[in-house]
Amino acid sequence: MPNNEAFEGLLDREIETMRILLLAKSSRTAITLEEYVKVRTLQGTGLDVIKQDLLTDLREGGRIFGEFRNSVKATAAGSINRLRDDAEFSEIGVDLKYRWSAVLVNTCSDCLERHGTVAEWDEWEVIGLPRSGSTVCRENCKCVLLPEESTELAPIRRVKK
């Protein structure tokens, strides 16, 4: 008797190789763009300043649109290479899961929120790697991605040598 579950699993895996995942992670309290503009207006910020902030963030892949930009990013040599890369990564084990580990040195709110979150490497590339500009601390980020199994849950405390 054929194992239907195994067959479905194989089929799913093949479908998985032909997929684009547009990922834009945000907290549960995420608001719409219109609400964002409204909140900042209520705080007394001028519309021209808000517009400039948003456009700069979109252009530079900052805190608001960083994940969006990563999500819709074309690969350097087109999608076929991206898919081949994915296949090669899975061969060498880059599909391992990594945990975001924050350090207790002026840790920004984004990094604290991410601390302990586990995802595969390609998912982190979409969400934003440490120092990639996807967090408030941008290139000053001191966080690290560690393999899931070898990571302590408590934030790492860095000390001066």
Binding site: L11, M18, E34, L47, K51, F65, G78
Partner: protein
């Protein structure tokens, strides 16, 4: 004298763009890939590899990825959880899609019809710029 300092400690929540990603998937990315199949061009704007004469004779035309039209209409998109949008190919064409693009045909040809090109990325960014301008305009 007592000084009291009130600190503003209000953090603006993040902006959700899932609805925008749905729009981009439906109105930009999928139509772009479908147009590519219609025009015989891959997602980077280059031409698909030419078909073998025997294949052209069998199909009756030289359009590489068009035969029944099923592949072209197999692109789909859906919300995945509360944060993600997934674009993929229906299961009845996923295998052939993988064969054409990733594995390659028997003669070693690859048809790069699925993915995100630089132009697609630019169009998605342009869409988001317009969204920002519209949100600002509506707030006036």
């Amino acid at each position: 004298m007592v000084n009291a300092q009130v600190k503003m400690n209000f953090r603006i929540p993040k902006v959700s763009v899932q609805e925008d990603l749905l729009h981009i998937a439906q109105k930009i990315f999928i139509p772009y890939m479908q147009r590519g199949i219609n025009r015989n061009s891959d997602i980077e704007g280059g031409s698909f590899p030419a078909l073998a004469p025997s294949t052209i004779r069998r199909k009756g035309h030289s359009d590489p990825l068009i035969e029944t039209g099923k592949l072209r209409s197999a692109f789909r998109f859906k919300k995945k959880g509360k944060l993600e949008v997934l674009i993929d190919i229906k299961s009845n064409r996923a295998k052939i899609g993988k064969y054409l693009q990733i594995d390659g045909t028997k003669s070693g040809k690859h048809f790069n019809f699925f993915g995100i090109s630089r132009k697609m990325e630019d169009q998605a960014i342009m869409y988001m710029k317009k969204r920002i301008e519209k949100a600002i305009k509506n707030a006036k």
